[in-house]
Symmetry: C2
DNA sequence: AGACCTTACGGCCGGCGTAACAATA
DNA sequence: TATTGTTACGCCGGCCGTAAGGTCT
C-alpha cells in the first residue's frame, strides 16, 4: 500500500539532491529520510538509487518514480482545492453586468430570494458576459439589449437614462436638452467601472477627453469643486441622493436611454423563475 | 496534508453505500471509519455528507471528492507497477523472431554478450515484429528477408532449409528431391509456434491438412509411430539430434530455403554492435 | 429487534529524533 | 574537519478496536 509520505520525500530528494538538504526542507531528521527511502525501495521491489559509500543518487527507476510521484502528488494536493472551489461555486450566484445600475436593484433582490447564497457581481463587456454565461462563469447576466440566442431566456429589468451634469455657470446650463455633439470636445469627469457607458460616451464624443476617477468619494468632491462637466443618470439619482448644485440636462440622443435585460441559460430558467417573476 | 487512507476509505464508502458495509470491506471497525470520514470533511473544510440521525450519504461535494479520489488512487496504485515494468524492461532484451531456428543460436549468444540481461523471445508474424521494433516492444527482431527501412540496421544471421521428413515406406521416399506440389493433398504433422513456416506450407500446399501438435514430445512420438509425412530443417537437425528412421528429402521450391536477418533500430545500433560483429 | 451512525476510552504500532558510526573530499 | 549516508534505540502521536449510547424502520 504505497504511502504518500514516502513519495513526498522521494520528490524532495529529487528536488534537493542530497538526503541532508531534503531532510532539512522536509523538517525531518536525515536518518529518518534515509530509512524511508530504503523502505520505498523495498516496497516497490526494484532499486531506485545508486549507493556509493557516502553518496546517494537516483537511478533511472528512481527518476521515473519521482516523476510519477510528482504528478500524483500534485493531483492529490489539488483535490481539496477543487472540492472547495466547487463548493463555493455551488453557494454563489455570479451576476455579470454591463453597467453598475442593475446591480443596485438586483443584488438585494437576489440576496432576499436566495438567502443562503453569496451574490457575486462583476462588471464587464458584452462579449465576456455572453461567453461567461455559456461556460458557467456567470449564472445571470444583464445586457442593455435583448439577446436572441435561443439557449437564453431574458426579461426586462429596468431602464436608465443618461444626463449631462453641468455646473450652473456652464454656458449650456440653461438649455432644456442637449445632444452628445453639443458638448463634444469638452473634458468630462468620469467614474471608472461604468461598463458600456464608458465606451458609449467615448464613441459619441470623440473629441472629448475623459478624466477617469477610480474612487467615488474623490469623484464627488472633484465634481463639486470644479466646473468640469460630468454625467448622471436617473437610476443613480434615485439610489444615491446627491447634494450637489449641478444642473441635470437630458440628452436627446436615443442611445442615452437604455433598457436592461436580465438573462440566464434556458436550462437554468427554473432556478431563477422567481427572479423573473418579481421583475 | 491530505492523507491517502482517508481517500481510500471515502472511495469505499461511495462504493458500498453505508459505513458498516464499507468498514467491513476495508477490514476496519465501523467507528473508525465514521471518525475518519469526519476527519476528511474537516480537513477539506466543506461538508461532504448529508447526515440524518442514523444515515450518512454523500452530498455533491462528497461525490466529487470521491471521484477525484478514485482517479488519484488508481494513479498512485499504478506507480509501483509502472516502475517495476520499467525496471524489468530495462533488464530485458526482447527478441522477436519469425521462426524458432534463430532463437537457438541467438539466445545463447545474447546471454553471453549481455550476462546481466534477461533474454525474452517471442515468435510472431512479420507485421507485429516490425511494429514491435518501432514501438520498443522488441529491441531485436529476426526476419526472413532484409528490410529496407532506413531506421533499421540489419545483418544476416544464418539460413534454414526445409526438408520433407517421410517414413521409409512412403511412396516418394526414394526420390532425390521433391517440390511442395508433389505432396500437396497429403496430411502433414506440424508443430505449432513455427512462425512463418506455418503460413508458407499452408500456402504452398493448399490441398493438404496440417495436424498441429503443441507438444514437442508428443509430436516426436507421433512422427515415429505413424506414416504421416512431416517436415524437418537442416538447422533443427544440427541443434537437435533426431533418432527417427525418417528419410529427409530436399524441397526444390526456392521458398524452402530462407536467409534470416537480425534487425535493430539504427539508434540502438551501438548497443548491439557486438552482436552484429559476431554474426 | 435490528441496522446504522456517533462518542468515549485505552492500547499499540509506526514513524520520528537522538546518538553513534563509517566513509569521502 | 566538514559533509554525507547508515544503523541502533527509545519515545510518542495517531489510528484502531471495544464498549456503550442514540435514532430510525
Amino acid at each position: 500500500m504505497m504511502e504518500l509520505y514516502l513519495l513526498r520525500q522521494l520528490a524532495a530528494f529529487k528536488a534537493y539532491g542530497t538526503l541532508s538538504e531534503a531532510a532539512e526542507r522536509l523538517y525531518l531528521s536525515q536518518p529518518a529520510l534515509s530509512r524511508n527511502m530504503r523502505k520505498l525501495e523495498e516496497e516497490i521491489g526494484v532499486p531506485l538509487f545508486v549507493r556509493s559509500r557516502n553518496k546517494l543518487e537516483l537511478n533511472e527507476n528512481g527518476s521515473l518514480t519521482a516523476e510519477l510521484a510528482e504528478k500524483a502528488l500534485s493531483e492529490i494536493d489539488s483535490i481539496a482545492k477543487q472540492v472547495r472551489d466547487f463548493d463555493r461555486s455551488r453557494r454563489t450566484i455570479s451576476l455579470g453586468v454591463c453597467a453598475p445600475a442593475p446591480i443596485w436593484k438586483l443584488t438585494p433582490l437576489l440576496s432576499q430570494l436566495f438567502p443562503t447564497m453569496t451574490i457575486q457581481t462583476e462588471i464587464t463587456e458584452e462579449t465576456e458576459l455572453l461567453e461567461g454565461l455559456y461556460n458557467g462563469q456567470y449564472q445571470l447576466i444583464v445586457l442593455h439589449f435583448q439577446p436572441d440566442d435561443p439557449h437564453f431566456i431574458s426579461h426586462a429589468c429596468g431602464t436608465e437614462k443618461l444626463f449631462f451634469s453641468l455646473p450652473p455657470t456652464h454656458r449650456l446650463a440653461k438649455e432644456p436638452a442637449l445632444s452628445f455633439s453639443d458638448l463634444d470636445g469638452e473634458n468630462f469627469l468620469l467614474m471608472s467601472e461604468i461598463g458600456f457607458w464608458h465606451d458609449m460616451t467615448v464613441r459619441k464624443m470623440p473629441h472629448s477627453r475623459f478624466l477617469i476617477q477610480h474612487d467615488r468619494f474623490t469623484f464627488d468632491e472633484i465634481v463639486n469643486a470644479s466646473v468640469l462637466p460630468s454625467f448622471s443618470t436617473d437610476t443613480a439619482n434615485a439610489f444615491f441622493a446627491s447634494t450637489s448644485d449641478r444642473v441635470e440636462i437630458p440628452i436627446t440622443d436615443e442611445e442615452a436611454e437604455v433598457r436592461y435585460f436580465l438573462v440566464c441559460l434556458k436550462k437554468q430558467e427554473e432556478q431563477f423563475e422567481q427572479v423573473f417573476g418579481v421583475l
